[in-house]
Symmetry: C2
C-alpha cells in the first residue's frame, strides 16, 4: 500500500478520489452489504471532529439531542403524500422479526420527520411547549444503486434537526439560522467556501415548502450539496396532528423545520483540499496535527534525537495538539514523509542531530508555496517557543487552505449569457459554477438539465452570488429576476 | 404532570421505576414501534455524559472508533454455530429494499462480531497489524417480547469494542482491562458499586470462551448485568478466516475479544440512587448540576434577587458547572423545588432578599441527611467563594451516593449455606445478593433457577466477593471451590 501511486486528478478524477480515500485509510466499500461502507478509524476521527464542533453550535443555539427509533411504521410515511413519493423507492423494509412475519411492516428510517412528528404531537400541547428544538445524531438508510464513498451510500451517518414553532416567521428564522450554522462551520472549520441559497421547487425536500442549501465547489467543477435546511410549513403538523393552544386559547398546527448534514461532508472535505499527493486536511479538521519524523544515521544519534522529538511532542500536546512521533524501526524518513502526507497531516517536523545542535527543527506544511527551485517551501522553527510558532503556522494554514479553495472556485466560476457558451461549459464531461439567468419555471430547468446535465444548484441568497440584476433566461429568453447557480452535481 | 405522585418503591417497584422515568422526562415507550423507546433530551444528556467519559477511557487505552454497516448478511451469522443459535430468535430481517425483494437477506445487527470479523480478515495480514483495537458506538436491534425502558428494549444504543491479538494471553489481558474500565467507570462516575466476575457457561455470550461481567445491585434486591467483556478465543477468527503471519513466518488465527455497555446503564443509574421523590443523579452524571430558585414576594424584590441569582450562576458556570436559574413566572418556589427534584438535579440553591442581606444562600442537596425534626438538612453557603463551596458539596455528594448505594447493597447481601434459607430469600417475589456454594455444573445451576428463579450472576473475581474458601454445594451437596453470587436478575 505504502508505495501505490495516487492517480492524478487530471487523468481520472473519480479514481483519484478513491485512491486518496484508500491510501489515507478513511473508508472502504463494504462489498458484502450492498451500497454501504465501513468508515475506518482515520475517517471516523474526522467525522468525530465534525460532530463535536457542530454539536457545540447546535447546543449554543438552544437545541437538545434525543434519540428516536430507527424503524418507522410504513403507514407513517404514507401520511404525507409528497414525502412518501420522494422516499418510497429507496426504502429498506423489515418484514420479519423475532422469528415471525410482521403484520405491520417497518422501514429503516430514510429521515425522521414522520416518526418525530408523531412524538411531537404527544409532547406539544400549549404555546409554552414551543419552540421545541431537537436534534438527533443517527444512521439512516436510502437504498441507492450508484454509490460513492461518503458522497452517496445506502447507509450513512448524519444529524437531523427537527423543530416546532408557534409562527411561520419564527420557523423561517430557524431555517435561516441553521443554514448559517452550516455555512459558518463549512467556512471556518472545514475551510470550504460554500454558496448559500434556495433550492428550486424541483430540488426541494419531499414535503417541504422551501429548502435552503449550502453548495460547495469540487475540484472537477461539480457542485456538492453539503447541508440543507427545510421550511416544512404545517405539512407534517397536519399529517401528524401536531397542535398547540395559542395565547387566544385556539388550537393551531405547529410550524416545523428540519435540517441536516451527513458523512457526505467528509467527502466534501476530501475533494475541497486534497491534491495528487493524497489527503489534505485543514488543521481544525485534522485528527493528527503534527507528525514528527526523527532522523538519524548512527545508533549513537538515536537516543538524543528521540529524546528531543519526545520533548517537542510533549510541549505541543500541552497546547492541545495531537502529535505523532514516528519512531518506527526499519522505515526511512522518506517513507515516513510519504505516509503522513497521504494521511493529510497538516504539519511535519523533521529533527536530526544537526537540528538539535542548531536548536531548530525543519517544518513542512502539507500544502506550501513553492521555492525558487519549484519545490514546496520548508522553514526552520526554533525549538525555543515552538508551541506558539507551530500554533501560528497551523492557524495560517487553516486560513490559507480556505483562500486557496476560494481562489480555485472563483477561477472556475463564470457568468454566462449565451446558450452556446453555456452548453460548451458542460460539453465533454465538463463542469463549472455558472451564474446564468433562468425564467423560474420547472419546465425550463428540466430542459436545461436534459440538454447539459447541469442543474440549478440554488438561487443564491443576497450577497452570495453576483450582484442581483434582472435579465433574460439563457434558455427560454423569458424575463429573469436574478442569476442562479448552475453546475453538474454529485 | 408536575403534580402526579410517584408510586413508592415499597408499594410497586416496577411502577416506581416507570414513574421516575416519566416524571424526569428521560424516555418513553415508542408504542408505534414494538419494544422500542424514545430517549428524551434529559435521558439522552445522561447517555451523552456516559459516552464522553467512556470514550475518553477507551482512547486512553489505545482504542480507535470506527463505523461498520448496521445490516449484516444472514449468511454471516451462520458461520459461527453458537452465535447464530444465540441470536437467531431475536433478529429483525430486511427482505425488501429499493422496491425489490432481496436475493440475499440481511438482519439488522444484534451485535457485530461477524461483520467486523469479516473486515478484520481484510485488514490483518502480519503481526505488525496487531493488536487491532477498535470500538464502535452504534444502535443494535434484538427483538424482545418483554421490554422495559432502558433495561431491555428492541433497539438500544451501545458501544461494542472489538479487538484482535496475536496471543491468547494478550487477548485475556484485554478482556480483564476493559472489565476494569467498566468497573472503574461504574464506581467513580456512576457512584454504583459493582461485583466483577466470570459468567457460568450457561450465561456466556454466544460464541465466547469466557464472559466477564460487572453486576450491579438494584433496590429491589435484583441484579443488573451492566457490562460484559468476552474472550472470543479463535472462534470468530476461524469462522471469518482472520489470520496473521507470526514472527516465525507461519499463518495463525488471531485471538479476539469483544466488550460492551449500553443504554441499559441509564436504567442501572436510575435504580441505583433514585428514591420515592424521583430521580437522583450523582453529580458526575448530572446534565444539570445546580438549580437556583429565586424567591421573592414583591415586585420590587424581583430585580435584586434575579440579579444575585444570575451572578451566582455565572460564577458556577465559570467552574464548568451547568446551572439553571428557574425564573419561570407564575410558579411558586415549592413547585420549582419539586420540578428539579424529580429531574435529579444534585444541588438546589434558594435565594431571597434575606439571603442577599446575609450574603449567603440556602443549599439543599438532592439526597441529604435528616435534621433533628426528620427533614432533609439544608445548609447556608456564603456567596463569597461560592464556587469552591459548591464544588466541595458536589464532590461530597458524589462520594456519599456511592457509600449509600454500597451500604444498601451490603445490607441486602448474605452468605447462605442452607437450601431452606436460600429458598426463603427468593420466595414471594423476593431477591437478595446471596453468596452460596455451587458444584460447578450447569445441571445444578438450572435446577436452582427452576426452583427459585435465582441465577448465578457470576463467579466473583478475587477480592470482589467473600473470602475464597471451599465448601459444599447448597443444592447438590457436592464439593465447591468458592461461593458464587446468586440473585434474580433483570
Amino acid at each position: 500500500m505504502a508505495n501505490t501511486p495516487i492517480t492524478p486528478r487530471a487523468e481520472n478524477y473519480a479514481q483519484w478520489y478513491q485512491d486518496v480515500i484508500a491510501q489515507a485509510e478513511l473508508a472502504e466499500a463494504a462489498g458484502v452489504v450492498k451500497g454501504c461502507m465501513v468508515i475506518r478509524p482515520h475517517g471516523f476521527a474526522i467525522w468525530e471532529k465534525m460532530q463535536a464542533d457542530l454539536d457545540r453550535r447546535f447546543k449554543e443555539t438552544g437545541h437538545q439531542n434525543a434519540c428516536f427509533p430507527m424503524l418507522i411504521p410504513m403507514s407513517f410515511l404514507e401520511k404525507e403524500a409528497e414525502h412518501v413519493e420522494g422516499f418510497a423507492p429507496e426504502l429498506a423494509i423489515v418484514t420479519h422479526a423475532g422469528g415471525k412475519e410482521l403484520e405491520d411492516k417497518y422501514c429503516i428510517r430514510p429521515t425522521s420527520e414522520t416518526i418525530i412528528g408523531h412524538f411531537f404531537s404527544r409532547w406539544i400541547d400549549s404555546h409554552r411547549d414551543l419552540p421545541l428544538l431537537i436534534n438527533q445524531w443517527a444512521n439512516v438508510m436510502r437504498w441507492e444503486l450508484r454509490t460513492r464513498l461518503f458522497l452517496r451510500t445506502g447507509e450513512f451517518l448524519w444529524q437531523e434537526g427537527h423543530t416546532a414553532h408557534s409562527t411561520h416567521a419564527e420557523a423561517r428564522e430557524e431555517v435561516a439560522r441553521m443554514l448559517d450554522v452550516y455555512a459558518d462551520f463549512a467556512r471556518e472549520v472545514m475551510a470550504m467556501p460554500v454558496v448559500r441559497g434556495v433550492k428550486t421547487a424541483n430540488e426541494r425536500f419531499a414535503g417541504a415548502l422551501e429548502t435552503r442549501t449550502i453548495e460547495a465547489w469540487m475540484q472537477d467543477g461539480k457542485a456538492l450539496q453539503s447541508g440543507t435546511s427545510h421550511d416544512l410549513g404545517q405539512n407534517f403538523g397536519k399529517a401528524f396532528n401536531v397542535m398547540f393552544q395559542n395565547d387566544a386559547g385556539e388550537r393551531e398546527y405547529v410550524w416545523q423545520t428540519s435540517w441536516g448534514v451527513s458523512t457526505r461532508l467528509v467527502g466534501a472535505l476530501i475533494m475541497s483540499h486534497s491534491d495528487d499527493n493524497g489527503l489534505v486536511l485543514p488543521p481544525r479538521m485534522a485528527p493528527i496535527h503534527v507528525a514528527i519524523v526523527p532522523i538519524f544515521r548512527k545508533d549513537e544519534e538515536r537516543a538524543a534525537v528521540l529524546e528531543a522529538a519526545g520533548r517537542i511532542a510533549d510541549e505541543l500536546r500541552a497546547d492541545g495538539l495531537v502529535v505523532e512521533v514516528d519512531d518506527r524501526e526499519g522505515l526511512k524518513p522518506g517513507a515516513k514523509y510519504y505516509h503522513w502526507e497521504r494521511k493529510g497531516v497538516p504539519l511535519r517536523l523533521e529533527i536530526g542531530p544537526r537540528d538539535i545542535a542548531e536548536g531548530a527543527v525543519m517544518a513542512k506544511r502539507r500544502v506550501a508555496d513553492l521555492d525558487e527551485r519549484g519545490r514546496p517551501k520548508k522553514e526552520k522553527i526554533p525549538m525555543e517557543g515552538i508551541g506558539a510558532a507551530v500554533g501560528k503556522v497551523l492557524d495560517e494554514l487553516q486560513v490559507d487552505l480556505f483562500e486557496r479553495a476560494l481562489a480555485r472556485r472563483e477561477a472556475d466560476t463564470v457568468s454566462i449569457d449565451s446558450w452556446d457558451d453555456f452548453q460548451a461549459v458542460y460539453a465533454d464531461g465538463g463542469s463549472k459554477f455558472v451564474y446564468a439567468h433562468w425564467d423560474g419555471t420547472t419546465e425550463t430547468e428540466l430542459a436545461i438539465k436534459e440538454a447539459t446535465k447541469a442543474t440549478i444548484r440554488c438561487v443564491p441568497l443576497a450577497g452570495e452570488g453576483p450582484e442581483v440584476e434582472p435579465g433574460v433566461c439563457i434558455h427560454s429568453g423569458q424575463p429573469s429576476a436574478q442569476r442562479v447557480l448552475f453546475a453538474k452535481n454529485y
